[in-house]
Assembly symmetry: D2
């Protein structure tokens, strides 16, 4: 008699109760025996014990080739994290039809909503005007809005058109503006299919008045926006940094904001948590958000749901459709910081 | 030979150059002789001299019946202000087919964009989190977002469905939530025609998680939301006050925010400018905006454009279509503060 | 003691049960005593008897000045018809604040849906291909579609931007094309406010590939599209005639269709019902629709609802908001055929 | 020195000039040496000659394991056809990271537009009314529309939510109705993410008034709608068959149309071309369309573009993003008829 399949569940640094509602847990248990370790990475011996019968690995367990070879029944790895990490031998998995999945899509919508909110905040000076108001320096009506931008009819620019860009796009449609997009991994036809205008990076920066930086950090795009690029942006345009700090030259970003060239907001920082004495805390020209864009409860519920739903599909012999699958060509290129670096991160 | 028609132009407290681009001025002059007085209300003798040949009055000139009787050629009054003021004998005008127009629609879109921005800011705590960050109290990721609301799939409530509500509605559509609306001047069929759900006020407050107060101040709705009404709102819901302070019991509004029942923002205050020592300046739970929601430059350009376009239509014998016309039944009911009360107001 | 107000109800050629659900009837009776005559125009003596106490007239009763003078309590006339007819002294009414209303908005949405359906039918040859199929002449796949047009990304042209154009516009948005509009009664700013491009008629015809004729018939636009205008349209473009036949030179329209210049559909004809031997019946290049575009049951329900809702508002001292009000400048310009010409017309 | 990579191009039954614009051809040649055979399937000896250096195979060339083993440099197969055929050893390819792609997405938008057109045609009786008109049997206005359905506010049902359903969904949004969807390969969360309501098939049939059959034919869903299922549909609802005939019990479908239960249209038939004497040609209650839904020129241009764009990405070391990739779990389940069965098919 064949043993019941096992589900190796190693969610650290996430806590199970943060993203796995009891109902989801029950559905998971219907698929196999859940072997859970919480509070730290699962100990090696426990991993080894489970691997031979493991159908699913959920978490960021290290899975080099030699471990994978001991998991002949493995069908999928869901790292319950937003980014592809270097902890898995992707080639080995993909050669054998083992799905390697991240739950990044769970964050796309919350980040998109936040990015829109930050853009309006920059365009209209909401946070700064609130600060001025408390200090008795508020200015009323048009006098307090001489540099405000209207979104309707304006030109939007999306740098990166993956999960985030595609979630943001529908939110921008009612403003009836042009939407420019730049993504070096995507051909023009794909962008046109989404009714956005494919443009080169320089042209995007020169034409868009509301720019969203949404590109995932990869081996290729470190500091892709520096002083030269910020210099291309029209004076007083909005710039929202919503993906990862590494994709911009951060000092150049701050300088562009301080000079007034960009009305800026950022959800990400080169080092998180930001050191207590980091001078960024005093930069009034940038809205500061502590990696909160993805952090709504519903996103955490989605993590659990999409994990369970994809496992159920795989168990039925169908392909997963909710998580984002690793692709051979790019899985090793991602460079976003792993969640383990600070426990409370999304 | 008939004299060239005159255009009495009395824009105080607005300044002509704030809203009338040179090209618009030229188009206006093509319709008649522009008689302009700036910097104060037009002197009575000047008004009297122009009235007999006046085709248009642009501004907030007092126009009681006795003056109107001396303006037999008058076709329209555009007060270049967002609200109907008690300075005109509306009945006399409407009996004679004299259009009385306000430029309120120019502000609808900027206010709608700002209202959405304030709603996202409340839902995600953007302004408060920025303040915390500067004080070294930021919390990262989900830890900093435990009370955040996602807009997508949520329940929106619009109190008032006039210019503002109709401009805001399309911006909410991509969130695919239910949209409830309450407007005592509008029948259910009108609301359903716009694909919103007509509901009573209490039900709106009890069901909506993101509430927009958009009702113009009228004789009937002073302080229509008080402690009882705020008490109906679900704990932690968003409440954006974007129309006029008079429509809420302002102390009750502040109390609801301080208690955490509502995540609140307001663009309006009972007295503007707000006194220097007004304790509202210290209420951390409310985003404070100094009547800035309508104040984008493009709105001011629109004021000029819609004034000129409607005058051109009227001069051609066609009805105006851009400004909002006074209606006999309601013109006398509006109670929004006149723009003259502070010169820099929108 | 004041008499109960009367509601003169003279719906011929409509039948009450076609548009007034029992619930609507009850609501109407709550406003006053309903005096109804059906099956023919209300006899003069009956009209005279009711007028002195009439608050509302519902129907196409002749109301020249001398009759109106005998109706001192009249607040509104709803003709329960889509067009302004010459049966009312509009100036007299509007001088006195008597609303004169048509229920045209009830048809806007059904006509818009039909217009879109006819446009897709023209673009893809649905009706003709069905006819060919039945005759054994169908062609499969691309061979049967060499002249088909895709709507997505194409250029749309709206001639007339009143009720119909505004109802159709949202249905066109998902196709992400340019939308050009021409309406001589509307200024550019109004069109831009709706995010359509204002253009002159010739340019619209030359650039749009899917043209909708939506202009109401007026004194000014009889046969506004003739051979010259159809000649401006690009070969093989779609042309949907959805308003009134009088706005085109009908023989020129048919000639343009027969020549292949336009892929055409029409819902209207110069004479309705169309004579049995009218050669239009044999024109294979035009989709023929017998004034059916507005004729869904729900539209008839809407007629009753909007009539009752506006009467209720007026009785409460509020302005009507659902029916379309006569405007002094244009009420006398409309030239659409009255409904009385054939009893079953919408 | 390494040989220049080869591109085996075997498009039969398509003709190259139908879908490969000269500019696309040039781009393809920049990637490698194009070895083309047209007018029939590429002869075996020619295939064998090319395989050792082939980077791409474009077409429906048979590629069993033994051939694939002789193509060590192969990176992708694009069958330039809408469906996965049994001509490729999918497992072998996917184990080795060889992409197997179909160009189905090129047809999604044209089919979606056609499906909407057919739905409006059914709902409003356009094609039938045109037929009646030509026979002198037209009925005007509401008399000719007593059974018409309005789309706005109605309930839509999508059976299948793959390429077609996702392309159709945005076109339905402006009608502001509920959208129900059923797809046994997709979990509820995926459907909710697209803001449609996941429902079981029976409930979809019972509640939706406008039903779109969009499911690809698979091993599992042959004749999934039979007499029982059509009997669940509400009397007079719209049913558009836009995917493949095999997914319905075709006689039961025709019977449901003849009985008046459904207002029906079909783009597909059990045997295509339909035999000359097939009685379906006389069924007046069904709109007949000869597999024309995907057949717009622009779709053919898209086939070429998406093929070239994906090959360019793969040559750069990036994953393809435009064509639909075979997935291990399902590639063998598709049962749609191959294009070779009739040369002019899309």
């Amino acid at each position: 008699m064949s043993a019941r399949p096992k589900i190796l569940f190693d969610p650290f640094p996430r806590r199970t109760d943060m993203f796995l509602a009891p109902e989801m847990r029950t559905r998971l248990e219907a698929l196999g025996e859940v072997v859970l370790h919480e509070g730290s990475r699962m100990p090696a011996e426990m991993v080894e014990r489970v691997l031979p019968e493991a159908m699913f690995v959920l978490g960021q367990t290290d899975l080099p080739r030699e471990r994978l070879e001991r998991a002949p029944k493995l069908k999928a790895i869901v790292n319950v994290e937003g980014n592809f990490q270097p902890n898995v031998d992707y080639g080995y998995c993909l050669d054998r039809g083992i799905h390697v999945l991240v739950i990044a899509p769970a964050f796309a919508l919350p980040v998109a909503e936040m990015a829109l909110g930050l853009a309006i905040d920059c365009a209209r000076g909401i946070t700064r005007a609130d600060r001025d108001f408390r200090q008795g320096r508020e200015r009323y009506g048009i006098a307090g809005s001489t540099e405000s931008l209207q979104l309707t009819g304006n030109v939007f620019g999306l740098i990166g058109f993956g999960n985030l860009g595609r979630a943001l796009l529908p939110l921008l449609r009612p403003f009836h503006g042009r939407v420019l997009a730049h993504d070096p991994w995507l051909p023009e036809g794909l962008l046109r299919e989404h009714a956005v205008e494919p443009v080169g990076l320089d042209r995007l920066l020169a034409e868009a008045r509301i720019v969203f930086m949404l590109a995932a950090a990869t081996a290729d795009n470190q500091a892709m926006l520096g002083a030269r690029e910020f210099g291309l942006i029209q004076q007083g345009s909005v710039f929202v940094l919503a993906s990862r700090a590494a994709v911009v030259d951060f000092p150049a970003f701050l300088a562009a904001a301080k000079s007034g060239r960009i009305k800026a907001a950022t959800d990400v920082f080169p080092v998180e948590p930001v050191p207590a004495d980091d001078p960024v805390r005093g930069v009034e020209e940038v809205i500061l958000s502590a990696h909160r864009a993805g952090g709504v409860r519903r996103a955490h519920h989605e993590i659990g749901l999409m994990t369970v739903e994809d496992c159920e599909l795989i168990a039925r012999g169908l392909p997963p459709v909710r998580c984002q699958p690793a692709r051979r060509e790019t899985a090793h290129l991602f460079r976003s910081m792993p969640a383990r670096s600070y426990a409370q991160k999304v």
